[in-house]
Each structure stands twice: as structure tokens, then as C-alpha cells.
């Protein structure tokens, strides 16, 4: 197998991520802490509402549609503005209304933005470490790289976000009415066109994210922290190898989502009683989130290895040294 073959790159990415395990744990801690902060007021309110109510037994095992409706109706602001929540559920919330969410949803949105920004900064650290020859697991060096490359990495992330939002508007929002039109004769036409919209969006997003990954890899490998040069380098790299870049993106996407899917499908739900089971489930959940973060970092590791290898391959061979 060639050094740049997809499985090889995938494995190299995971190995690179494993060497930065301290940084990965730091990312997990950030994620968990933010989640705790966001959900703490909601959890407290739930205790106020449910602890003294025998009807809550029906909610312990899982969601009860009827009881849940009664809960939301009696506490309309529990999750935030019900009208906007309903629109969000139906996928009809205008983008402009998202910042005006209230209650825990507003907290989630703010925390999400913060998490995205922090992740982008940390990606700078990962890019620096994966490009380094040694001390990949050194947390101090990781933080130094994050400080040095964090802002350019954030800028690259913002460019990517803008591109993804553009793709969303272009492929999902703009043709929505046309693909859901009641004038379409057959059901499969509507389904097919809707899936085509989704596929076009996912394909474009995948390409954008591949560019972002390669740009960050270029940022780490470059001597200067110039995000424009890195973006140009990343875009050029992906344009030269679009299929493989997309496949790499898909491979790490599957790597990230597989543990979550397996967990959601197979993991038991805690509905009281055994505290040891709760501890075990919490540990399992953290492992799932960690694997998602690992997949994220590993993608960058693979991108760095791939770009470095490609550059080395392109360099002219050294002249033979005569004895």
C-alpha cells in the first residue's frame, strides 16, 4: 500500500491524534464544561418541576409524548420561546431569528459559537503539533502553537463557515419551494429532488471542509502564519486531488459518527436506580464525544501527513554524494 493511500492516511491521522492525547482531553474537558454550564439551569428547573410530581415517573424511562406536551405547555419557557422552538423543529426558523432565541436555546446557541471558536483556536494548536517533527504530545507546545496559529485558523474557519452557509442557502433554501412543489406528479420526484438538494449541500460542504483541513495543514507546515497563503495552498491542494480529499473527509466523518450511532442504537438509557450504571453511562458518553473529537483532530493529522508527503515527493531528489 502506498504511503498516501486512503487507509494509510486514515491510520496516520489517528496515530497523530493519539500522540496529542493531552490536547484531546483538554478539548473534551472544554466541551463537557460548556455543556454543563448550558444545561445546569435547565437541570435545576427540571428538578423543581419534577421531583415532587409522581407523574414524572412516566418521564424517567424516556420521552412520553402526552406528558411531555403537558410539561412544555405548563412551562412554556422551559426550552425557550415555544414559537421559535416549533419553527426550529419544523426547519422553518429564519436564519435571522436564530440569535433571538431565548432561554436554554439561546444559551446553547451562544455556547455553540464559543465552542466553535475555541475548537478553531485549538485546531491551530493541532496543526502546529502535527507539522512538528517531535514533541507532538507536549501540551505546552500545543498551547504555544494554538496561540501562534489560533487566529489564522479561526479566520480559515470563518471563511469556511461563510462558504457553508452560502452552500446551504444555494442548495437547501433556494430550491426548497421548487423541490417540494405540489405540482410534481410523483412522490419519488419530490423525494429525489429533496435528496439531491441534500447531496449537493453535503458534497459542497465536504469539499469546503476538505479545503479548510488542508489549509490548516498548510498553516502548520508553513513558516509564516499567513491564513491567505494557507487558504490558497489548501484550495490548490484539494483542487488537484478532489476525489481523494472528499473521500478522506467522508472517512473521518464516518469515523466520528459511527461511535455515536452505535451508542444511540445500543446503549441503555438510565432511568434511575443503579448509580454505578449511571457512572458507566457517563463514562461511555464521554468516550463517544472524545472519539468525535479524535476524528476531528485525526482528519487534520492525515491532511498534514498527506500534504507533507506530497511536498516531499515534489522536491527534486538530492544529487548523489560521491565518496
Amino acid at each position: 500500500m502506498k504511503g498516501h493511500a486512503l487507509p494509510f492516511l486514515w491510520a496516520r491521522g489517528l496515530l497523530a491524534a493519539a500522540t496529542a492525547w493531552k490536547a484531546l482531553l483538554l478539548a473534551l474537558a472544554l466541551n463537557a464544561a460548556l455543556a454543563l454550564v448550558v444545561t445546569a439551569p435547565l437541570a435545576s428547573r427540571l428538578h423543581d418541576l419534577l421531583d415532587s410530581r409522581p407523574a414524572a415517573d412516566g418521564l424517567a424511562k424516556g420521552w412520553d409524548v402526552v406528558l411531555g406536551a403537558h410539561l412544555i405547555r405548563s412551562e412554556p419557557g422551559l426550552l425557550g420561546d415555544p414559537a421559535r422552538l416549533g419553527a426550529l423543529e419544523r426547519g422553518t426558523l429564519p436564519l435571522a431569528d436564530v440569535p433571538r432565541l431565548s432561554g436554554p436555546l439561546a444559551g446553547l446557541f451562544a455556547a455553540g459559537l464559543l465552542h466553535a471558536a475555541l475548537s478553531a483556536l485549538l485546531a491551530g494548536g493541532f496543526a502546529g503539533r502535527f507539522a512538528a517533527e517531535r514533541e507532538r504530545g507536549n501540551l505546552a507546545a500545543f498551547l504555544a502553537d494554538a496561540a501562534r496559529l489560533g487566529l489564522p485558523s479561526l479566520f480559515i474557519g470563518l471563511v469556511g463557515l461563510a462558504a457553508i452557509l452560502g452552500a446551504f442557502f444555494l442548495f437547501v433554501e433556494l430550491p426548497r419551494a421548487a423541490t417540494l412543489s405540489p405540482d410534481l406528479r410523483w412522490d419519488w420526484e419530490r423525494t429525489g429532488l429533496s435528496l439531491l438538494r441534500l447531496l449537493a449541500f453535503l458534497g459542497t460542504t465536504g469539499a469546503i471542509r476538505a479545503v479548510v483541513a488542508q489549509s490548516r495543514a498548510a498553516l502548520g507546515l508553513a513558516k509564516t502564519a499567513n491564513p491567505f497563503l494557507a487558504l490558497a495552498s489548501g484550495a490548490g491542494f484539494v483542487i488537484g486531488r478532489p476525489v481523494k480529499a472528499l473521500l478522506l473527509e467522508i472517512a473521518f466523518g464516518v469515523t466520528a459518527l459511527l461511535p455515536l450511532s452505535l451508542w444511540l442504537y445500543f446503549a441503555p438509557s438510565w432511568s434511575g436506580g443503579d448509580v454505578r450504571l449511571l457512572a458507566l453511562l457517563v463514562a461511555g458518553q464521554q468516550a463517544v464525544v472524545l472519539l468525535r473529537i479524535v476524528a476531528r483532530a485525526a482528519h487534520l493529522g492525515a491532511a498534514t501527513a498527506w500534504m507533507r508527503g506530497a511536498r516531499e515527493a515534489a522536491r527534486p531528489a538530492p544529487a548523489k554524494i560521491e565518496a
Partner: protein, 659 residues
């Protein structure tokens, strides 16, 4: 008295379901002979109808009142217009025009036509036409009107119209309003509720494109199809003892027939007109029809006609989920999951309409609860029996995804309206005429969900068998008649008892809510009495003593809603002891004091008999907190949030987790 009522109920349940007819059918009042030709280019039906009306009221009628339902689609000023999606072009509009109205002797009445909105109604509405007659139609006399008309069908958005080569013609011909002892009863075409008409016979001949030969669904039965010139086909249909006539055709229909013969009930020919891309739903349609005919036949009366036609319309045709005598429409999609009981649940609902409004022909405009409510109650029962509680289905990019871990028990989880009935039904009592209600949500909720929940609550409170026996008797007694709410309540009181009648009447007459809450539950160790005890020479002083081993518990249950409902209050004590008290629920509150073991919890209505209770969460109280449910949900929400945060990282175009 109770025993007599029980006997009556039992007798009604056992009453033989053998006769092919549900009851004595009234002689024809309004019969129609119609000949119409379809112009596929113009989307018009041009035709002539002969209406034969026999005045069986006690009143002389000086005029005739005609519904021109399609004029609801005439322009954006019609009464129907707010209920129609925003029109985009001329094809979204329709009309019904009277070209000529005459008596058999040639007297032309066309110039006399005036449009007659009820007093205070919408003057721009043209869905009711009044035609003064040269002389009144006296009781027992017959009026024959010959009418030339042109009906332009709109693109299907609401119950009637076309989509591509699929045509569903409902409310398409000039139709007499209902004659009553108080005169004609006709209302403009409203968005929510529509129909009220006299029974009669229909003889309809349609000239249609030749390609739809054998693919025409009708009220009643197609009796002849003959080829005509210019690649057209003449289709003749007949229907007896019906109060409306609808038809549908499409060259793409796949037509299937099955003869259903439920045990002990007459045979029914079921015709299914299926979209080719809905083949997967074929057996689901037939199963619903088979089981529905058997169940309703047993619960009510035998299905009263020899045919049942199910039209499966294409998605987006606007013809979904409608009921006409002997003809109903379903709704499904090519990927509709089989496990969730669709389109069976919908078919069961529309099929139940064959009894309630089809045969027991109530005034839907004024008393929609008598057909939609009874139908929702029955179809929820039937669906639960046949399919069990369905799961909610979400649709993402055209792909329906059933959420199998969730269940929607019926009728309380039937729809968002049912779940939110507490909010939507506050504006209007159910008995208010639907067109006077605040909005469509209030109408839907009151007519459908609230009535279904009310009847199910009555079944659980006063007994299922008496209520079902009352429904059976009501369906039998009023088949092919036009009962009112008071007729229904009379039968209910007679068969199911005064309590059942009283509860239904309360639920319908009030816009209020049912809400019982346990507002206080305390328990403490009981101490012996302290202070002066006894009288005269026996009076002694007892010093305060430490509490003993027993407990003194106090429970307060309050009625927070306007509607009173009899409830049970269940108190659970340490050691497994359980005490249940019954309360008629009429007072504003009730307090119980109990001594004994330590009180653990109190629940009002523990068996969930009253589904109208708007807040089940406050139905109980513990004396000590139990954090399991909140802890479990906090734990789930944290994990969900962690993954959502990762999703945000994905949106910010960070590497990994793209798919």
C-alpha cells in the same frame, strides 16, 4: 333504574346486526339527474341537472336556495378564501355559474337569481343563490328545477379540483340547501365545515376522456360505460339514499376491487382507486376497510350501502382525507412507513364518516362535533385496536422517519390539536356554530379532538359499554335522518345514563378546561393531644409529649379548571398501603386528613380517566422529593448538548465529522 339502563345498553349492544339497511330510510327529498361533460383544457364541467325536490317539511317554501360551493374559489373575497393557500394564478380559482334555471313548463327563473349571504354575512360571497318561485312549494308538493350550469374546477388545494390528469370533483354542481321546518337552511361555504343536505337519489352521466374508462370513482356505483366519438367515454353512475355526489378520475388510477363480508354483516364491494406509486399501500387500504367495516358494523349498524369507494389521491392534490357518501379519500406517500398505521388510521376516520354524516346526516356547519367528534372518537378506538399506538413520523428531505421509541396513544396523542386542546378550545365552547368560532384552530380542536377526548373520558368514567351502546342506538335510531345535539344527548342519557349525558353536555357547553391538581400533601408524626382535655371534673392537663409512631397526613386537591369531573384520589402510604377516595369534583377544593402510616404520594385521577385534564403534571404530589426523572433528563440533555456543541464545531468548518 341502573339495572334497567344496563339491560337497555346490553340489549342495544346485542341487537342483531343482520339487516342490510341500518334503519328505515326516509323517502327521497332531493334527487338529482345530472348530465355533465368535462373539458380537460378549460377544467370545466358543463352540464344540466334536473332537481326533484319534495317538500316534506311543514312549511311552505316561497323560493329555492342553492349552494354554489365552487364559488368559494371564485375570488379572494369569498368566505372560503382565508382557508385556501395563497393563490398563485388563474388556475387556483374556480366558480359555478348558473346559466339557466327553469321550471319544467318552461318558466325561466334565471333573472330572479340573487346571491343571498345570511344577514351580516359576507356580501361578496356567492356560494348561496336564492331563486324566488312563481308560487310557493306547499308541504307535500314537488318542485322540479332544470338547471344549466358551468363549473370551473380550481387547481386542487382544498377538497376539490385537479392536479395534472387527476380530477377530484366534490361540491361541483348546484345543490339545494337543506329544507327544514324553519325554512331553507344553507350557509356560505366555510373553510372548516361544509355540508348539510337532504337525502335523495342521484343519476349522473358524465362525458369524460376515453383514457379514463374503467378509472372513474363515484358515489354509489358506475352502472354503464360506453365509448363515444372523439375518444370520449360516457359514464353513468347511480346512488341511492345519499345526500351528495362526488367523483374522481385519472388515467393513471390502478383500480382494485375486493368484496368484504364481515361476519354477520352484509357484503360490501370495496373499490380502491390507487396511484401507481402508492402500490405498497394497497393492502393497507384494504385492511383498514375490511377491519373498519367489521368494527363499525359491530359497534354501530351494518354499513348501509352496497359499495365503498376509496380514492387514493396524488400528494399535493388537495383532495386528501375527505368523505362523501360511499366515497372517501385517503392520503399516503410512496415511502410511508407501514408500521405507523397509515393510511389505515385516516381510512378508519373517513370510513366512520359513512355513519356519522353519511347516514346520520347532521348539520356539519353548525354542529361539526356530531360528525367529526364522534368519528374521531370511533376511529381512534378502531386504530388502537387494529394498529396500537402509532409513533410520530418526521420527514427529512422527503424521507419519512418514524421515531419508533416514541408512541402517540390515541386519542390524546392523535395530533398536535389533541395535545394542545387545552389551549385552543378556550376561545369557544364546542356547541358554538363553527363559523362563529375564533379561528380554524378552535374549530378543529373543538370539533375533532376535544369531542373525541370528551367521549373517551366519559367511556373511562361511566363505563365503556353503556357509551358504546348509546352510540349504537343513536346510529340506529337516526340513520337517514338529521338529528341534532339534543337528540344525541337524549339517547346518551337514555342508554348510558344521566351522568354520561351530564358530562358530555358539560364538556360541550363550556369553553373551560378540566384541571385537577394536588396542591398540598403533608405528613408528620402525630403527637397525642396537649393542653386541657375533657370537661368538668374530668378536665385534665396533658403536657406536650413527643410524637408517637403514627403519622398524620393532610391532602388538598383543587379544581383549577372550570369544568367539574368526577375523580378518584389515590393516596399511597409507607408499607404499601393504598387508600382511594372518590370525589364528584364539583367543589373548588377538597381536603382529606388521614392518620396511619407515613404518606408517600397523592395522585388525583390515577387511572387517567379524564383525558381533558390540561395538566397531568400537577395531578400528583410526593411528600419527599424523588429526583430520578429530572436527573435522568439532565443526564440525557448534557449528552445531547455535548453532541450539539460538536455540531457547532462542524458548522464552523472544523475538520472531521462531516457526515
Amino acid at each position: 333504574m341502573h339495572r334497567l339502563r344496563a339491560l337497555l345498553g346490553f340489549a342495544a349492544l346485542l341487537s342483531p346486526a343482520l339487516p342490510a339497511q341500518a334503519g328505515p330510510r326516509v323517502p327521497s327529498v332531493a334527487s338529482y339527474r345530472i348530465e355533465a361533460a368535462w373539458d380537460g383544457e378549460q377544467k370545466t364541467l358543463s352540464g344540466r341537472e334536473t332537481v326533484t325536490f319534495v317538500n316534506r317539511t311543514s312549511r311552505s317554501l316561497p323560493d329555492a336556495l342553492l349552494h354554489l360551493y365552487l364559488n368559494g374559489f371564485r375570488n379572494t373575497r369569498s368566505t372560503l378564501s382565508p382557508g385556501i393557500p395563497q393563490p398563485e394564478g388563474s388556475s387556483d380559482f374556480g366558480f359555478c355559474e348558473l346559466k339557466r334555471v327553469a321550471l319544467p313548463d318552461g318558466t325561466d327563473l334565471t333573472r330572479r337569481i340573487s346571491f343571498a349571504p345570511p344577514a351580516g354575512g359576507n356580501p361578496d360571497d356567492r356560494t348561496l343563490a336564492r331563486i324566488p318561485l312563481p308560487r310557493p312549494v306547499e308541504p307535500g308538493e314537488t318542485l322540479v328545477l332544470e338547471i344549466d350550469f358551468e363549473s370551473h374546477l380550481p387547481r386542487g388545494t382544498l377538497r376539490t379540483g385537479w392536479k395534472d390528469d387527476f380530477v377530484f370533483a366534490g361540491q361541483w354542481y348546484p345543490k339545494l340547501a337543506k329544507a327544514t321546518d324553519a325554512g331553507w337552511r344553507g350557509r356560505p361555504f366555510h373553510p372548516s365545515t361544509e355540508f348539510f343536505a337532504d337525502f335523495g337519489d342521484y343519476d349522473v352521466t358524465l362525458l369524460l376522456p376515453g383514457e379514463v374508462k374503467g378509472r372513474v370513482a363515484v358515489t354509489g356505483r358506475v352502472v354503464a360505460e360506453t365509448d363515444e366519438a372523439a375518444e370520449r367515454v360516457r359514464v353513468r353512475a347511480r346512488a341511492e339514499d345519499v345526500h351528495d355526489f362526488a367523483f374522481a378520475f385519472s388515467p393513471r388510477f390502478e383500480v382494485k376491487k375486493e368484496t368484504v363480508a364481515p361476519k354477520g354483516l352484509p357484503k360490501v364491494d370495496v373499490f380502491l382507486f390507487l396511484q401507481p406509486d402508492h402500490r405498497r399501500s394497497r393492502e393497507r387500504y384494504f385492511r383498514a376497510a375490511r377491519e373498519g367495516l367489521a368494527l363499525y358494523g359491530a359497534w354501530l349498524t351494518p354499513y348501509p350501502w352496497p359499495t365503498l369507494t376509496i380514492v387514493d389521491p396524488p400528494a399535493g392534490s388537495g383532495a386528501e382525507a375527505m368523505e362523501y357518501p360511499t366515497l372517501i379519500t385517503g392520503a399516503t406517500t410512496w415511502l410511508s412507513p407501514s408500521s405507523e398505521g397509515e393510511p389505515g388510521g385516516l381510512v378508519l376516520h373517513e370510513l366512520a364518516h359513512q355513519w356519522f354524516q353519511g347516514a346520520v346526516a347532521t348539520d356539519e356547519v353548525s354542529e361539526a362535533h356530531l360528525d367529526e367528534g364522534l368519528t374521531s372518537f370511533l376511529s381512534a378506538r378502531a386504530a388502537m385496536r387494529i394498529y396500537g399506538a402509532p409513533s410520530p413520523v418526521v420527514e427529512a428531505f422527503g424521507v419519512p422517519i418514524p421515531l419508533r421509541s416514541l408512541k402517540r396513544p390515541l386519542p390524546e396523542g392523535e395530533s398536535q390539536d389533541a395535545l394542545d386542546q387545552a389551549a385552543f378550545s378556550r376561545s369557544d365552547p364546542t356547541l358554538r356554530e363553527t363559523w362563529r368560532s375564533l379561528d380554524d384552530a378552535a374549530v378543529r380542536t373543538n370539533a375533532y379532538s376535544r369531542t373525541a377526548l370528551l367521549l373517551e373520558s366519559v367511556a373511562r368514567t361511566t363505563g365503556e359499554q353503556p357509551l358504546m351502546a348509546a352510540l349504537k342506538e343513536y346510529a340506529r335510531r337516526f340513520a337517514f335522518r338529521h338529528p341534532t345535539t339534543s337528540d344525541f344527548l337524549d339517547v346518551l342519557g337514555e342508554v348510558a345514563g344521566p351522568e354520561a349525558r351530564d358530562l358530555v353536555e358539560r364538556g360541550w357547553a363550556s369553553a373551560g378546561a378540566v384541571d385537577y391538581a394536588v396542591t398540598s400533601a403533608t405528613t408528620r408524626r402525630s403527637a397525642p393531644p396537649a393542653g386541657w382535655v375533657g370537661d368538668g371534673p374530668h378536665r385534665v392537663y396533658r403536657a406536650p409529649a413527643p410524637p408517637g409512631p403514627g403519622y398524620e397526613s393532610t391532602v388538598v386537591v383543587q379544581r383549577l379548571g372550570e369544568i367539574a369531573w368526577p375523580v378518584e384520589v389515590e393516596m399511597r402510604f409507607e408499607g404499601g398501603r393504598k387508600v382511594t377516595r372518590r370525589w364528584d369534583g364539583r367543589a373548588e377544593w377538597r381536603r382529606w386528613r388521614i392518620t396511619g402510616p407515613r404518606l408517600l404520594s397523592v395522585v388525583v385521577d390515577p387511572r387517567h380517566t379524564c383525558l381533558l385534564d390540561v395538566n397531568r403534571l400537577n395531578d400528583g404530589l410526593r411528600t419527599a422529593p424523588e429526583p430520578t426523572a429530572a436527573r435522568a433528563w439532565a443526564h440525557r440533555l448534557r449528552f445531547l448538548t455535548q453532541n450539539l456543541l460538536e455540531l457547532f464545531a462542524l458548522l464552523a468548518a472544523l475538520p472531521g465529522a462531516a457526515l
